[in-house]
């Protein structure tokens, strides 16, 4: 944090510094309090609307009803989060691993990129809701199609970013490697891969939330467990409180997954200021 303030006249240096530090503390506190109060205000508004407009519980629940459901059905919600989380994480690992490997091939074999990149773009244009039934037909009713959907949805952004990152090498650093008679392997591991890491992480942060979406969409089609299945069941039963509670559990997991990747990025990419995704 590089805060600066103009020092006012007619005041000692110490007094000015003390005033500056007090103002800085106030700013830090405000940065934490304001978002919290914003969320609280939204919840109050939601509760008031449900109460004033007398919305029936099968249309929309009050925040208190959602909180009660979160508490009473916590075990059941967690039991349904588990398969979704597993599908999302496995799909994330699989899709990103494949994307990194293929990006490496593309960068070293231009003809492979020219031949197969259009195929990748074509597959990417199929909407997730259309991919899901195709994969369920191919892979059955278990976890596999959900993992495959999560993997596919992660694959494209990572592939594009990784190819860009591997090619974003400083041309003078490339010339340096040539003057040093570095092999292609050395150029890849010493120069290309570290250059690509910030690009890779911005893709991984996107993938962390889309992988969860992929798993949930996969569960909409032929599944009895998972966040996606629970959403469908709650909707058909007009159990709006359970529906909202399920959605909250699903997005909390997405946020947690995103934060884990962000933390990992801070550990690995230390040489540049963190880029806001």
């Amino acid at each position: 944090m590089a805060d600066t303030a103009l020092m006012p006249g007619g005041q000692g240096v110490e007094a000015a510094e003390a005033a500056f530090r007090a103002a800085q503390r106030r700013r830090v506190l405000r940065r934490r309090l304001l978002p919290a109060s914003g969320i609280l205000a939204m919840l109050v508004l939601w509760g008031l609307l449900v109460w004033v407009l007398n919305v029936p519980p099968f249309v929309a629940p009050s925040p208190l009803a959602v909180a009660a459901t979160l508490y009473s059905k916590f075990g059941m919600l967690m039991a349904n989060l588990w398969p979704t989380a597993l599908e999302a994480i496995l799909g994330f690992l699989l899709g990103n691993f494949a994307a990194i490997v293929i990006a490496t091939v593309f960068v070293h074999k231009k003809s492979a990129e020219e031949a197969f990149f259009p195929v990748v773009v074509l597959i990417n244009t199929i909407p997730v809701v259309a991919k899901a039934p195709i994969l369920v037909l191919l892979l059955g009713n278990g976890m596999e199609p959900k993992i495959a959907i999560a993997a596919l949805i992660c694959f494209f952004p990572t592939l594009v970013n990784m190819v860009r990152g591997l090619e974003a090498v400083n041309p003078q650093a490339m010339e340096l490697m040539r003057v040093l008679s570095a092999s292609r392997r050395e150029v890849f591991f010493k120069l290309r891969l570290p250059t690509a890491l910030p690009y890779l992480f911005s893709a991984l942060k996107i993938a962390a939330s889309t992988a969860v979406i992929g798993a949930i969409v996969g569960e909409w089609i032929g599944s009895t467990v998972g966040i996606g299945a629970l959403i469908i069941q709650a909707t058909y039963n007009f159990d709006s409180a359970l529906l909202y509670a399920t959605v909250i559990v699903g997005s909390s997991f997405s946020v947690a997954f995103f934060l884990v990747i962000t933390g990992l990025e801070r550990l690995v990419v230390r040489w540049q200021a963190p880029v806001v995704a």
């Binding site: 400083n170 650093a173 010339e175 340096l176 040539r178 003057v179 040093l180 010493k190 570290p194 230390r270």
Partner: protein, 272 residues
């Protein structure tokens, strides 16, 4: 044909002894084919530089001075002519790790600390150990005035400090030829003056042959034992100018009459 020989005051390189030249270019031409036309970057460039001497390459932008440096570094293949570096081909000199190159932007790897950047040449190209008796990375950082900054990352260093790290990296392993491509061009004048003095000191300590590209008349005159003036469109040799100033130079020499006379002559050569 414009042939010129870098004659130094201390050690004259006789034209009849080409074996003594560290770098020799004979009728070098470089052409680039583009969609619209074929561009001649260099045409019929010939010169020689004696081992251990300091040659400035001076010319307007687009005269191909950077291209010429890249031909010597085996980064660009000449279309015509022959380049001899240390008695063999440029490629052989590169594979022997006899060349050091300093780029205009320091080209440091941002994920490596200063000392890790300096040791990079030991990790690639099949060279694992320093030649016996050559300075260690720590000693090189001290030589460029960065003792105590070993573990700083490039983003924590100023532009001048980054360029010092890249000079230390180029000096690792004691290269016989140091090629510098406008290394101080992006720095402010005060830092640049300071680094010019330091470079002279480093050159006198290491006795390496230096080929220094610049578009600053003062820098070329202050640093070089001779200046190869290039003209543009196409890039060609205008004249080889010997700088008969003492080797031990301080910045104050730039205000002396002989220095000004040489600078004025170079300016006329560039203007013609």
């Amino acid at each position: 044909m414009a042939t010129a020989t870098a004659v130094t005051a201390a050690r004259p390189a006789p034209a009849s002894a080409p074996a003594e030249a560290a770098i020799a270019c004979r009728n070098v031409a470089v052409r680039f084919v583009t969609e619209r036309r074929t561009v001649t970057a260099l045409e019929d460039v010939s010169f020689e530089i004696a081992a251990g001497s300091f040659l400035s390459l001076l010319g307007p932008s687009g005269c191909g001075k950077s291209t010429l440096l890249r031909v010597v570094a085996d980064l660009v293949q000449p279309t015509e002519g022959r380049v001899t570096v240390l008695g063999g081909s440029a490629e052989a000199a590169r594979r022997d790790h006899a060349l050091g190159f300093v780029f205009q932007d320091a080209a440091l790897l941002p994920w490596r600390t200063a000392i890790q950047n300096v040791t990079l040449p030991l990790e690639v190209g099949g060279r694992s150990a320093l030649p016996a008796g050559s300075p260690t990375p720590t000693e090189l950082l001290a030589m460029v005035g960065l003792a105590g900054w070993e573990n700083a990352y490039p983003h924590e260093l100023s532009g001048g400090m980054r360029q010092r790290v890249s000079i230390a990296r180029a000096l690792l392993g004691g290269p016989k030829v140091l090629l510098m491509d406008e290394p101080f061009g992006a720095l402010d004048e005060i830092t640049r003056d300071h680094l010019n003095e330091e470079l002279l000191r480093i050159w006198q300590e290491t006795r390496t042959t230096i080929l220094f590209v610049t578009h600053s008349i003062y820098e070329a005159t202050f640093l070089g034992e001779s200046v190869l003036v290039l003209a543009a469109n196409p890039g060609r040799v205008r004249e080889m100018v010997a700088i008969d100033l003492p080797r031990d130079r301080s910045l104050a020499i730039r205000e002396t009459e002989p220095f000004m006379r040489i600078a004025a002559r170079l300016r006329r050569l560039l203007g013609d």
